[in-house]
Point group: C3
Chain length 470, copies 3
């Protein structure tokens, strides 16, 4: 299906002022991933051998860095557009570069894609990269929309005849405004035609910009054929021009990710009520409750259940584990057959071993927990190494910070720590030791020793009455 070489120009130089962001527009994330990378992902799927020219401008270093951080098989060049003088100018920069010269030399067909279409699909890229017919100057993507307001209207000779031009909203006559076929700013050009065309563009318009759209007029003037491709799914080519459209696009993209997982066997308790980044991996036979957010490189192993309102970012969960409601994890690892939550907090660098339990209102930070270990209630374990078959009671605290430095707590295998104990780090609980409830542990507890650090209970008969009478 792929032509020998596919050449694609992606327009990624714009500022996106209405986005109110410190990021350049094409780097603004949708579902956790910059818009531009969504586009490149789709292009990669459709045309893994494509030659890409990314036209950069605003904050170009950031844009280039973002693309280069990825592992694409496509050959990607970056073309600088120093001033933003319109789409035509951007393409001209590309065509007059070495990248463009190669395209002309090899008589390639050049697809031009705006950089702000995060909902672009692989199918669309495949379709628009099919070779032009012999003699065609270009292929134009159009859509029939219910409400064409704001779009350029496609003017044809007769109702279904060849395309004559695209008229912008503001230049359209009342009759032209009724036209429901609109141009989508996606074109495939013959390289030679494109090269000559962009060089000849004029900016004699209100904005003093060079418009790629004008090439349609060029083709008509030269009596070159214009192909059109009408796209049935307007959603695929939704642009993103402000934070509202961004949030709408995010919702649509999320629903696609959810659908993909659901068809592959993931059981969402209700459709489209969880949010799953496209980068997340989910195994077979996983159940996901509403309100949950899975981000980044998170992976959920087969047979696990993720309760409602769970937040996991870059967390790897093993098989048959249950992450209960409201648990919150970042950059951590959870083994298999583990129960977490509800309302457990795994701060970065937590590593929970197989068959262990981290219960409600427990915070783990930068700690490794062994297997078959239980930390079931209201505790804070930070900077600790906890062994296997350990039982830690309610209200345990690692006093890891002395006001200046953080210190480590070591709890070896088979230790039992009663409730409301504190470990004043650095401190070690050796194998099989036992700590009485209510103890503040400041020194090593030796193997199989009992440690106790609390006051004996004194009862004062009748005193409670006196207190009440005060």
């Amino acid at each position: 299906m792929a032509s020998p070489t596919t050449s694609i120009i992606i327009l990624a130089a714009g500022l996106g002022k209405r986005m109110f962001s410190s990021l350049p527009k094409v780097l603004i994330p949708v579902c956790g991933r910059p818009m531009l990378l969504h586009i490149l992902d789709r292009v990669q799927e459709a045309q893994p051998q494509a030659r890409i020219a990314v036209v950069v401008g605003h904050q170009k270093d950031k844009v280039i860095e973002a693309v280069q951080s990825q592992k694409y098989s496509m050959k990607i060049s970056f073309i600088e557009q120093t001033e933003q003088k319109g789409t035509g100018h951007a393409v001209k920069c590309a065509m007059q570069s070495d990248w463009g010269k190669t395209a002309v030399d090899k008589k390639e067909h050049v697809l031009v894609l705006p950089g702000d279409l995060p909902l672009l699909t692989t199918e669309l890229v495949r379709d628009m990269t099919e070779p032009l017919k012999r003699g065609s100057a270009l292929k134009l993507l159009t859509a029939i929309v219910a409400d064409p307001l704001g779009y350029g209207r496609v003017i044809r000779r007769g109702k279904k005849g060849p395309v004559l031009r695209i008229v912008e909203e503001k230049d359209a006559s009342p009759l032209e405004r009724l036209i429901q076929e609109v141009g989508l700013s996606i074109y495939t050009f013959g390289a030679q035609f494109l090269n000559v065309g962009v060089a000849a563009l004029k900016n004699d318009n209100a904005q003093k910009e060079y418009y790629l759209t004008d090439l349609i007029g060029h083709a008509v003037a030269k009596k070159r054929a214009i192909e059109t491709r009408t796209w049935d799914i307007p959603e695929d080519v939704r642009g993103v021009n402000n934070p509202y459209e961004l949030a709408v696009a995010a919702k649509i993209l999320n629903s696609r990710v959810i659908k993909r997982h659901a068809l592959a066997g993931v059981r969402f308790v209700s459709i489209n009520d969880a949010r799953v980044d496209p980068t997340v991996k989910i195994g077979q036979d996983v159940t996901i409750y509403p309100g949950t957010i899975l981000e980044g490189s998170t992976e959920i192993g087969a047979g696990s259940t993720i309760g409602m309102n769970v937040y996991l970012k870059n967390v790897r969960v093993g098989e048959r584990s249950e992450i209960k409601a409201g648990s919150y994890g970042e950059n951590s690892v959870v083994g298999s057959d583990v129960r977490v939550g509800p309302y457990a907090h795994l701060r970065p660098d937590s590593d929970i071993g197989n068959h262990s339990k981290i219960g409600n209102f427990v915070e783990i930070k930068k700690s490794k927990i062994g297997e078959h270990t239980s930390i079931a209630h209201l505790s804070y374990v930070g900077d600790a190494v906890v062994g296997s078959n350990v039982n830690i009671g309610c209200g345990f605290v690692t006093c890891n910070y002395d006001g200046a430095k953080k210190h480590q707590t070591v709890v070896e295998d088979n230790v039992f720590i009663g409730s409301d104990c504190q470990a004043v780090a650095p401190v070690t609980f050796k194998k099989g030791s036992y700590v009485a409830s209510g103890s503040t542990i400041t020194e090593t507890v030796e193997e199989d020793a009992l440690a106790i650090a609390r006051s004996r209970q004194i009862n004062k008969p009748g005193y409670a009455k006196k207190i009440r009478q005060k």
Copy 2:
């Protein structure tokens, strides 16, 4: 409205491979209830005296058990289909059983329902169980759909003439594919016609299966009349063939449940943002915030408020109580005028008395709490009996587990327990006793006694400076 006896065959033998579930397809839950039971619930409402034949196959014991666990007034027989050889074969099994013979003998009309239609409505069952007209072989349920892709098209003589046949997608001519009237796999047959028809079905098709649809051809061949009923609400007959469709069905079903409650007076702060199982009961003047999930046999008493993101499964809440944001409860009882949460955790077998308060980050497990008692902050109460008018401070812990066994804590009426106390169970706090903050209680606190078990405070002047200089 009901005919003397209504006979209904429900097809419940399938595996549902694309569901990726260990459950047989018809037992997969939608909003907490197996699909098959949703159907039987609707049939029960429409035709409480119906004679039902459930055709079972895959994991038939589980299916039979699920149905028999319910209290239906309908007379339900189970017919085994040992091999899955198509819908026609399934119905043949039913018709050739004693159940079918009775239908033939009594000249009943037989409604055939697929077992994977969790959104079926009472109205549809009522409609399709109205007696056939004299002379009709069958009545066929159809719908006019915008996108008929994948459905069997209804071929009529002329545009609105009698039905000739149903053509499956793959067998349809391009012209036939444009037809928007589709068959919905729901039919009512004269028992005699059905009996003869299924016996004569052939499996000379690609799948080597026997199709019930072929009976339409039989009727046409025999010049028997075919009635049609066009159903306006395509949603009602959505089939469920994969986890995506399952999650979509769950959302639709939930919105119906929400609407029913809202029209009866329940105030949802926003529509369709909570999830309420169809089995849940909600009283008058109840307010429910978004993100909340109510499951199983949960009941909410009049005048209560359920905050956002609450999860309650099999929890009975009394009147005028407030369950605040993020609280999580299972198999528990909450009295009237109780305040719970935010972020309280009621583990199974918690019973909270009237006018009591269970505050934030408090975990209750297998405990009975009296009336006018307060456990307001960061505590764990497990395996305890707590009386009335008790005040338990912050950070209280029942040390109920000694590494081997669980032990009970008893807190009698009018006890005051200061903050950060632990009860090393088994232990009893007798009536009116008072426990000083920071005490680990290991022995009985006698009536009206003050118990104290902590160290006296020692101040070391200037020492803090030294620590900071370290």
Copy 3:
């Protein structure tokens, strides 16, 4: 655009029985604000100098109080309708009052609005308050709807001719029922025509009520012109007649609020998944995660991030602060560069200083916290004044309640409190003091002193083994 004086009657006397509420219908809140105030807000925007007559009846004192609590520039009169005898009767009460006499004397045009249209827009009010054409008796708002069921149909002479009358559903002929143009119970009348008209209304109908709709017949009988205005957005005039419609309206209203903020630069991670009261203010460059609810007078400063499932009611958050998942705050103040949560609970009268941190499972109540102070884990701070540069460890508790009264805790600047400490209030931690982990503090800790109140650790070698063997 505004006519010299605009007069508006708002019908706010009804009970709203189907709402199942103890509030009068027009005071039932939608997105936290009574329906009637939503209407008045829109009228205020469209016609800040309007003369308003609010017709009150059921619980009139509450309605009047609600309106008077607001600062509108409009001149608002309250007209009592002692018996609810229909819309015509309500308007008659207004027209026969001094308010109505002024309208007649000044030949004003009078807009009549039902009080249960929380989705009314400024544009609609502007449009309907434009002066009538010379000679017109009234202007009628209509809409073309797909499903006219339940609405009054607009009967015209011919298809597009002048309006003859409105026929209620129950009085409509089968042919009339097919009409898709419906009346919306919103009219603008010439005051003189209205005054005479309502005086002449009859109640010879099933409900024995006086209907404003009948004035259309009057106008036709008197050969007076009737203008119509067809409104394209049916949503704007959705009435609210039961809790279901209320919840639907709330969702629509919320989506409008979200859209307004998003277009102004607020980044919602997904569209329409947070709930923001119309009264809330949000600064530039703010990110809001799904599931969050912002209510009342909440304000979010520029550059702040609000995580998922946060609940803030009347909370002012400064700039560049982060409120993490599940945090819950009421009537509090959070400074700039503050980090809160996840799962922190700010109870009323909490005031968190700049650069401070309130961590997970921490409850703050009626306390002022200084700057650069950290209370990071599982603590309860109530009735306290905490200074700047204070570090409070995990499991700290202010024992502020002795069973009878609440007492204050004072923690001065630069104090370090180890983990699992309790402050038995009233008590003071003076500047620069240091408290060892596990201490129950009952007396003043002097400046730069170290306080310690815990038992020395005793290790019993081999005892753990014995315990296990028990």
